[in-house]
Assembly symmetry: C2
Homo-oligomer: 220 residues x 2
DNA sequence: TTCTTGTCACCTAGGTGTTAATAT
DNA sequence: ATATTAACACCTAGGTGACAAGAA
């Protein structure tokens, strides 16, 4: 009962081998991890959270000549893993289900000493994002948090953490699909990945669409 | 146990006769209504909210020759009054008390048909903002919301709703103290209301100060 | 070599009062 | 006359990859 938003875009990145930038100050993910939930108890309260688990115990390096990732040794030591709690938590099932849930406040960092609550990852390592729905039992109940949570894994959201993009095709797809990178687009406005980008923007607009849409009459 | 933030700035506006812009799309207040709370039960849950009550039953008009507000008749009919719930609600007393509570998402409108949940006011009328702390009883308790809320009124936050500023001194004070109006400042950077503005910015920074402050060395 | 860091121009997104045009 | 609206230039605030310099 959790559906990944923007799945076509995730798939396109996944096919190329998704990379996510990590910086000292913290960098958002793109695509943003967004899900739609259903089947919750409308009246019950839930906490929503994400964490990131290593895909394997390896360190990678990008071979430019073959345009592919190759193993470069054992994994570096890991920091105590962090969990990102969705800032709207806790909220009722009804509130979570009536809109797309976006983790756009989540940031990735390679700073082991990070003091901002960001997710700490090792560059040149592979990670799998996980999404957790935690049921909050009423206070009078004795139940511990035994089986009161569900975990969702979308394998198409796995990625390699990098400090700079390695695969040039990933760079181009980011530029083509991330609105904030519009300044680096070469071709005519909205070219190349038009379909995916338009789909994305439409979905994001639906999410925030509370104000009356203003129909602008194009002047002749 | 509620302290108004930026009180010196509010006082300065109040002395001149505070005006707040209302627009069809909704306009934020400036100064922003911000309070600090103490004395709550750290573990209990509270909803925080604001509403706006008419100061009197009159309509006003600004007499430019005497630079003062004069009564212009009886009040216009009122829309059903709306309440703005702080978007972080509900939250525990502990969460509310550990930081300044800012109502910067609150917007004022003169559109009687507003569909965005903004506060509807009549232009050229006077209003008194009110702040409410609502105690949320645990679900097993039978208590109704009888006396489970407290209301705070800061008379220095009262204002006249306008569609365009009437008192030129109010305009100048807004330009001097609102960072978003910096483009209209004449004099040298940070002149005139330096003290108040600096105080404001320092307080707002304290509130969000989680990242390590980066000391920039000014170059010679 | 390979990877990381900091700065930058260029965007998105949205909050200001001004101004001219339009209601009322 | 007086009050309202919409477009606008100019800001704040912050998210992009490019690039040059630095580090391992």
């Amino acid at each position: 009962n959790a559906i990944l938003e923007m799945k076509p875009l995730w798939d396109e990145f996944h096919t190329l081998g998704t990379e996510m930038i990590v910086t000292k100050a913290g960098r958002r993910m793109f695509p943003t991890f967004q899900v739609r939930l259903c089947g919750l108890d409308p009246m019950a309260e839930y906490m929503l959270m994400m964490d990131f688990v290593p895909v394997d115990d390896k360190r990678y390096r990008y071979a430019f000549h073959s345009s592919s990732w190759v193993v470069a040794g054992k994994a570096d030591p890991v920091s105590p893993p962090r969990i990102h709690v969705h800032p709207d938590s806790p909220a009722t099932g009804s509130q979570w289900m009536k809109q797309v849930i976006s983790f756009d406040k989540l940031k990735l960092t390679n700073n082991q000493m990070d003091d901002n609550g960001h997710i700490i990852l090792n560059s040149m390592h592979r990670y799998q994002p996980r999404f957790h729905v935690v049921f909050l039992p009423p206070k009078n109940c004795q139940e511990e948090t035994d089986n009161n949570f569900k975990t969702f894994v979308f394998t198409e959201t796995a990625f390699t953490a990098v400090t700079a993009y390695q695969n040039h095709r990933i760079t181009q797809l980011k530029i083509a699909s991330n609105p904030f990178a519009k300044g680096f687009r070469d071709c005519d406005p909205d070219d190349g990945d038009v379909n995916l980008v338009q789909q994305q923007q439409q979905q994001q607009q639906q999410q925030h669409q509370q104000s009356s849409p203003k129909a602008k009459t194009p002047r002749t």
